[in-house]
């Protein structure tokens, strides 16, 4: 059964370092996501694992086998391309049975596999259809079926849902997840959509500029981001600039702009250090009553957006910082634009990061 190990893998295209000294271990039967913005190197990493390109440095293992010099056809993988890459001159049946045929399976066995996988993706009735006659969702299913029919235990998916409508995308991501779990496969799924990665993955590696910033379960990444970028990219965060004015107990007192002091639970910061305080939108408590206490900041509602499940408020704080707060739409009363409010947050639900050398804007930039 295949696990995948990458040891100090680097890939350059001319002067651009697409993958920079990446080491990862993807466990057997794990559903693993490579998540990051466009151009972060996630697809390059997937293509390195598939053998479609070769690393400049480092080692890639599939199972116990070092595969650096093994061509893609001998790596025993299935690959689902973002554009599906269904062969336009073959119908669904010939696309699906292509893998068994080129691997030299006898006709009967190839046919049995073909029927099984088409049954699995519920497209048995369209086996005569050519790719141009299929909808996006159907093409995606055929692409998955084709990859599965090749008999691989490792499935590599390169933004497989990227070309589909939101509704179909949501349905299919769970369908693929279920199928892979039922078949006991290992899957590596590349996506730039954090909600997709969080919904289906056992673990996620967040990438930026060719490097892996953090690997963890969706909960770990959300609850305990190790960097400003991860806090920004996984879910949503408000970033408030300030200085550590005092170290106290388990945390520190942070002085925000406008001499507003708030308490945060954190480690490893020094008094006087310039920091960024990150607070998730749903962590804030909003009250109409004006309060003057620790971790209470007053502000004015600047914009209200109804998003269905949630209501989103943009609040201008008294120090002119802008924060975004999200509240369930069916709980409690709504606030109106122009209304004066007080916001607060529990100190243990904040994250404190050293102020980035390149500046906050550059640190959270996704392009």
């Amino acid at each position: 059964m295949p696990d995948v190990r990458l040891v100090n893998v680097t890939k350059k295209f001319g002067k651009i370092v697409a993958v920079n000294n990446v080491s990862l271990h993807i466990h057997d039967k794990e559903y693993f996501a490579l998540l990051g913005p466009s151009g972060c190197g996630k697809t390059t990493l997937l293509r390195l694992i598939a053998g479609l390109i070769q690393p400049d440095e480092g080692k890639i293992y599939i199972g116990d086998r070092l595969v650096n010099d093994v061509p893609p056809e001998d790596r025993d993988i299935g690959f689902v391309f973002q554009t599906f890459a269904l062969f336009p001159h073959m119908n669904s049946w010939n696309n699906v049975t292509y893998g068994p045929r080129v691997k030299g399976f006898d006709t009967e066995k190839a046919s049995t596999i073909g029927h099984e996988v088409l049954e699995m993706v519920r497209l048995h009735e369209r086996l005569d259809a050519f790719p141009s006659e299929l909808s996006g969702g159907m093409m995606q299913r055929i692409a998955v079926a084709r990859a599965l029919a090749a008999g691989a235990k490792l499935l590599l998916l390169d933004e497989p849902l990227g070309q589909l409508d939101a509704k179909v995308r949501n349905e299919l991501r769970y369908e693929i997840r279920r199928m892979i779990r039922d078949l006991g496969l290992t899957a590596i799924h590349v996506t730039h959509d954090q909600s997709e990665a969080m919904a289906i993955s056992d673990r996620i590696a967040v990438m930026k500029k060719g490097k892996v910033l953090q690997v963890g379960t969706p909960q770990e990444l959300y609850m305990n981001p190790q960097s400003i970028f991860v806090a920004h990219f996984i879910g949503e965060s408000n970033f408030l600039e300030g200085y550590v004015s005092k170290i106290s107990g388990k945390g520190a007192i942070i002085e925000l702009r406008g001499e507003i002091k708030v308490q945060a639970v954190c480690e490893g910061v020094k008094s006087g250090e310039r920091v960024i305080l990150a607070v998730r939108p749903e962590t804030f408590i909003v009250e109409k009553e004006i309060k003057r206490d620790k971790n209470f900041v007053s502000g004015t509602i600047e914009r209200v957006t109804f998003e269905g499940t949630n209501v989103r408020y943009e609040i201008r704080l008294e120090n002119q910082d802008l924060v975004v707060i999200v509240k369930p739409s069916i709980i409690g009363e709504w606030f109106n634009v122009g209304e004066k409010v007080t916001i607060s947050f529990p100190p243990e639900k904040t994250h404190v990061f050293a102020y980035p050398e390149a500046g906050l804007r550059e640190e959270i930039a996704v392009e």
Partner: protein, 556 residues
């Protein structure tokens, strides 16, 4: 900057439906009146003269044999072209060596070297005493059918390479990569996925190579016969050379010429239609796979051998024979021939005049072509008169490309001769216009098809009139294709011999070279070498210009 008044007026006019359709309708009328109908009407005018041929069975059989030879050579050569050219195109596009860019450029050389110079170069290399004979003691190939095949291979091979390099570069590699990840070794992936997908390009390149072989006349005449006591004796005859040898003493169009032209035109069009209709239906064996054998063919020894054979074939049969004429040219430059040539004495006076005529006619033909073919290209690409009409026009514009140019020239001469007021130079221009018309239309219509219609619509929603859309969107985005097409028209016109010989007594540069080689006009080997050398030099300059211009393409 405000628009000049004339531009504003033209923009406004272009919004009127009557003006828009008027322009496109004019393009269609010009195509029928100037390009398509004259050769057909020419044959009809002289229809009666064919009786003369049919009443002489020997002449009929001779004509049919020559035409049979034309198609046999074209079929054989185009097939060998595909077998040899496709691996070369693969090597150029998929190889990793930095030298491949140079190889890519080198593979274009025989494509743009005028065939008259190419013919003489091959004659020297394969049959001349300074060529392979100096290595092996005697010439390897004597003039005749084998040398004709070698010649046709040399000049049609780059057509396949060029088309297939383009097709492979445009090809979405993901299909092949998908095939590899599903377990197919490289050979299986290319056999079952890449080439079946590229079948339309393969068919197109085959048709181009086939028609190029059918059309070539001047160089074929050089290598198809020998000189005996100063007289040219043909040892092999094809349709194009048959037409030349059966022209009257003052280039009158005789019955045999009309007969051969008619049969060549009918057969060319029929074969073109058969290939166009049946080609896409041709099934390639993609279901059956031989995993072990194909795996062996995919790696190391087999792949290296394939690349080695491709390179050897290219150098021995294409590049070295094409450039072999450089030897006498250099000898001429080092000796006394160059000053003589530059001084215009002896045979050179006529040579320089012929060169001026060739480039002059080439320039006029290119300019007229640009004006008449642009609206036709847009009409085809955008389906202005509906998809069906566009489809039919798309087939019809290809006809001058596939019909043997000597046959086209002969029939055009009959037609235009009936208008006594048409001067001979214009006859030449009309003939070259007919032959080169498809190049610009095809190049431009393909470029327009690549432009998303959204861009045009965006431009219209921002306030541009139809002419403004053409000026500001289509023209800037297609200018490199227009330039490439224009250069193809120009070089083809400068190279053309068959139609030139058939329509006029005016002597263009390739005609002069053919006469020198056949000693109709006595010239020394050094003079012929230098004459060819000049033609090749100018062709190199044109290729360089093409490369420099097309390089800018990446900006879009």
């Amino acid at each position: 900057m405000p628009k000049p008044k004339i531009t504003e007026t033209l923009d406004r006019l272009s919004s009127k439906k009557s003006v828009k359709y008027g322009v496109y309708l004019t393009a269609v009328i010009v195509f029928f009146a100037l390009i398509l109908l004259p050769p057909i009407l020419g044959i009809i005018i002289k229809w009666n003269t064919m009786q003369e041929v049919l009443s002489q069975p020997e002449l009929t059989v001779g004509a049919l044999n020559a035409i049979g030879n034309s198609f046999a050579v074209a079929l054989l050569v185009s097939t060998i072209d595909v077998i040899a050219g496709v691996p070369m195109a693969w090597l150029i596009t998929r190889g990793k060596s930095k030298w491949l860019k140079i190889l890519d450029t080198l593979s274009d050389i025989p494509f743009i070297v005028p065939t008259a110079a190419l013919g003489y170069s091959l004659l020297l290399f394969w049959s001349g005493s300074s060529g392979l004979a100096s290595l092996f003691g005697s010439p390897l190939v004597s003039p005749g059918w084998l040398l004709v095949i070698l010649l046709h291979f040399t000049f049609s091979y780059p057509v396949i390479v060029r088309v297939m390099v383009g097709a492979l570069l445009d090809y979405k590699r993901e299909y092949e990569q998908a095939s590899r990840t599903l377990g197919a070794p490289p050979f299986t992936a290319s056999r079952t996925v890449t080439f079946p997908i590229l079948k339309p390009s393969l068919i197109a390149s085959f048709i181009l190579a086939f028609s190029r072989s059918l059309s070539e006349t001047g160089a074929t005449m050089m290598v198809a016969g020998i000189l005996e006591n100063g007289n040219y004796v043909p040892l092999f005859e094809n349709g194009a050379t048959f037409i030349q040898t059966h022209l009257g003493p003052n280039k009158e169009i005789t019955g045999p010429v009309v007969f051969a032209s008619f049969i060549l035109m009918i057969l060319s069009c029929s074969i073109f239609i058969i290939i166009r209709v049946l080609g896409p239906r041709l099934k390639t064996p993609i279901k059956k796979v031989w995993p072990l054998t194909e795996r062996k063919l995919s790696y190391s020894a087999a792949a290296s051998s394939r690349n080695g054979i491709s390179l050897l074939t290219f150098f021995i049969f294409v590049l070295i024979p094409s450039l072999f004429v450089a030897l006498p040219a250099i000898e001429a430059i080092l000796g006394n021939t160059l000053p003589e040539a530059l001084g215009g004495g002896g045979v050179w006076g006529e040579y320089w005049q012929s060169l001026l005529l060739s480039y002059g006619v080439g320039a006029v033909v290119t300019l007229i072509n640009a004006v008449i073919s642009l609206p036709m290209a847009i009409l085809i690409a955008r389906g202005i008169f509906g998809k069906k009409v566009s489809g039919i026009l798309d087939i019809l514009v290809n006809i001058p490309l596939i019909v043997t140019s000597a046959a086209l020239g002969a029939s055009l001469k009959i037609f235009w001769e009936s208008f006594a007021f048409v001067p001979e130079t214009w006859l030449l221009v009309f003939a070259h216009l007919s032959i080169t018309y498809p190049y610009l239309v095809r190049s431009m219509s393909a470029a327009v098809e690549r432009i998303s219609f959204d861009l045009e619509e965006a431009s219209r929603t921002l306030g541009a009139k139809p002419l403004g859309v053409f000026r500001t969107i289509i023209l800037p985005l297609t200018k490199y294709s227009i330039l490439s097409g224009a250069i193809m028209v120009f070089t083809r016109s400068v190279s053309e011999t068959g139609a030139t010989l058939a329509v006029t007594k005016l002597r263009t540069a390739p005609v002069v070279i053919v006469d020198w080689v056949r000693q109709t006009v006595p010239a020394t080997p050094l003079e012929i070498g230098l004459g060819c050398g000049f033609l090749i030099l100018f062709s190199f300059i044109i290729l360089l210009a093409l490369r420099l211009i097309v390089r800018g393409k990446g900006r879009y």
